[in-house]
């Protein structure tokens, strides 16, 4: 894997939230390359290497996708469905990161194949701590899927 590869794809529409999340990640020096998608369509274009990301390949999948549920146009669940139903993207770990604690969201998320579900705390310290743990787990502890995992079988 090339070093400059995207480590985290953050799917989030709100710029304030994006900035705070990036700040936390950079502060912990866990991720060097974070890509931000501002809506569901952009996230899917990125993951499926479509224009303007046509230069990318499926093998360069991010280590983890942090996905918000409330997104303009295609919402988080649609993005999750899109990722998990295609053999080329199915192996990418997707963690839902949302303010929602609705049981239906949890159930739908896991049903569609989410690899995790994390509720954002209001308190910034807690949030920072949570981002740190997420980064540690997905970028350090967890073994990423090998290239073969992104090929149809």
């Amino acid at each position: 894997m090339i070093k400059q590869d995207v480590e985290i794809l953050l799917v989030k529409d709100n710029l304030d939230a994006v900035e705070l999340a990036l700040h936390a990640l950079h502060q912990e020096r866990l991720a060097n390359h974070i890509e931000v998608a501002r809506d569901g369509e952009e996230a899917l274009d990125f993951l499926f290497c479509r224009c303007p990301y046509a230069h990318r390949s499926f093998e360069q999948a991010p280590r983890v996708v942090l996905l918000d549920l409330k997104l303009p146009q295609e919402d988080g669940m649609e993005v999750l469905r899109g990722i998990k139903k295609d053999p080329r993207t199915k192996a990418i770990p997707v963690v839902i990161l949302t303010a929602s604690r609705e049981e239906s969201d949890l159930a739908n998320g896991y049903h569609l194949g989410a690899d995790g579900y994390v509720q954002k705390p209001v308190d910034f310290d807690n949030f920072r701590n949570l981002v740190k743990q997420l980064g540690l787990y997905w970028l350090v502890v967890n073994q990423p899927p090998p290239t073969a995992a992104f090929q149809p079988r």
């Binding site: 705070l20 303010a99 929602s100």
Partner: protein
């Protein structure tokens, strides 16, 4: 004329008069009267019977009694019972008139006998109960309409409540986003630049952060409250003492360094949602702890009494209490009776208690006296066993 003849003539005359008198009584009766022979044939009728059937007595006499009812089998069973048992009371039948009109009646009948004691036939009197039936029907219809109206209003209320809760939920949910950002950026500002800020600016910043934290708690409490409204109860028979122990255990951090005398009475088993009931105890106890904080010797009492055959659970403390003047405000959302700098809190704990108790179709109320203490009481509508040996299940094996 001999004396004999004259006497017999007088006797005959007297008998004739008695007969005529009796007959006129029978004919004057508004109730249809009829006599029936052992074979079920009509032997005599009165005027009212002619009216009720629409047939003349010549047409009626000698025909089957049961032919004139909507349910001939039941009519036959009726007079057979009279022959068998001697009498019948308030036997319900419907007379069908020739033109089809039906009259609901109650029959009272008994056998009549020869002087020797042999049964000759049945004497039956019918009482028209059309008016009563009509009134009953009217009441039934009114009740039905009332039921329908109550159901409709309840459904409307429930829908309005749902709307309101959905609204509260989405508002509080959406408020959390910006709140998180205020908290985050003010925290970063503080961490990264506070050394460069004048003292006054740092103080303002910390006020901003306090306000944010407070609003965050309120929003979270509101979310919890609305989540409660939408949650279905999951009822199970529960040992309240266990819930109380758990709730007290969870509150240990709030008791650190304090002298508290707990007086725990026997609590019943109740059918309830244990998670929610534990929340009730947690909120009431947390209040009791909070408002006894200034007491050197805090006493918190939890127990059960019985009122109208129903268990009443109470939590009592010797804290700052409240004036009964404000008792109506206690359970309101965001209602607080104390200054925030004296006693912290969002003012939603008791609203949550009330919501949970109401969800269990119970009642909750409070008594207090300023600087003497407060007591909170609640009942639950679910099946309760009286406060007693808490290891015994109600209705269990003896």
């Amino acid at each position: 004329m001999s004396t004999d003849t004259t006497e017999r003539h007088l006797a005959d005359e007297a008998a004739r008069r008695t007969g005529a008198y009796n007959r006129s009584l029978i004919e004057a009766s508004l109730d249809p009267l009829v006599t029936i022979a052992p074979d079920g044939k009509i032997t005599d009728v009165n005027n009212a019977t002619e009216k009720a059937t629409g047939l003349s007595r010549q047409q009626l006499i000698g025909t089957d009694f049961s032919d004139y009812f909507t349910d001939p089998g039941k009519a036959r069973a009726g007079y057979e019972q009279v022959f068998r048992e001697g009498l019948i009371k308030d036997y319900e039948l419907e007379i069908r008139r020739r033109d089809g009109h039906v009259t609901p009646v109650l029959y009272n009948a008994s056998v009549y006998r020869h002087e020797a004691g042999d049964v000759i036939g049945v004497f039956a009197a019918a009482r028209d109960i059309s008016e009563r039936k009509r009134a009953e029907e009217e009441i039934r219809k009114l009740n039905e309409e009332l039921d329908a109206r109550v159901r409709r209003h309840t459904a409307e209320l429930e829908a309005t409540n749902k709307d309101l809760e959905a609204f509260t939920y989405s508002v509080s949910h959406d408020l959390r986003g910006p709140l998180r950002h205020i908290d985050g950026f003010s925290k970063l500002l503080f961490e990264e630049y506070s050394v460069d800020l004048p003292e006054e600016a740092r103080r303002y910043l910390s006020r901003i952060r306090d306000g944010t934290r407070r609003m965050g708690m309120m929003v979270d409490d509101l979310l919890n409250l609305t989540r409660l409204g939408r949650k279905e109860l999951s009822l199970q028979l529960t040992r309240l003492s266990s819930l109380l122990e758990e709730a007290i255990g969870d509150l240990q951090p709030e008791m650190a360094g304090r002298e508290i005398e707990w007086r725990i009475g026997k609590l019943p088993f109740v059918e309830c949602d244990p998670a929610l009931l534990k929340q009730v105890f947690a909120n009431l106890l947390s209040n009791a702890l909070k408002f006894t904080r200034l007491q050197e010797h805090a006493v918190i009492e939890v127990g059960a009494t019985t009122q109208d055959g129903r268990a009443v659970i109470f939590v009592r403390d010797n804290g700052v209490g409240f004036s009964m003047k404000y008792v109506d405000k206690l359970f309101g959302v965001f209602q607080r009776l104390h200054r925030p700098e004296d006693f912290e809190g969002t003012g939603i704990g008791l609203a949550i208690v009330q919501r949970i108790v109401h969800k269990h179709r119970g009642r909750v109320w409070a008594e207090g006296e300023l600087n003497k203490g407060a007591a909170f009481f609640f009942t639950l509508e679910a099946a309760e066993s009286p406060p007693g040996e808490s290891n015994a299940l109600p209705g269990g094996a003896t």
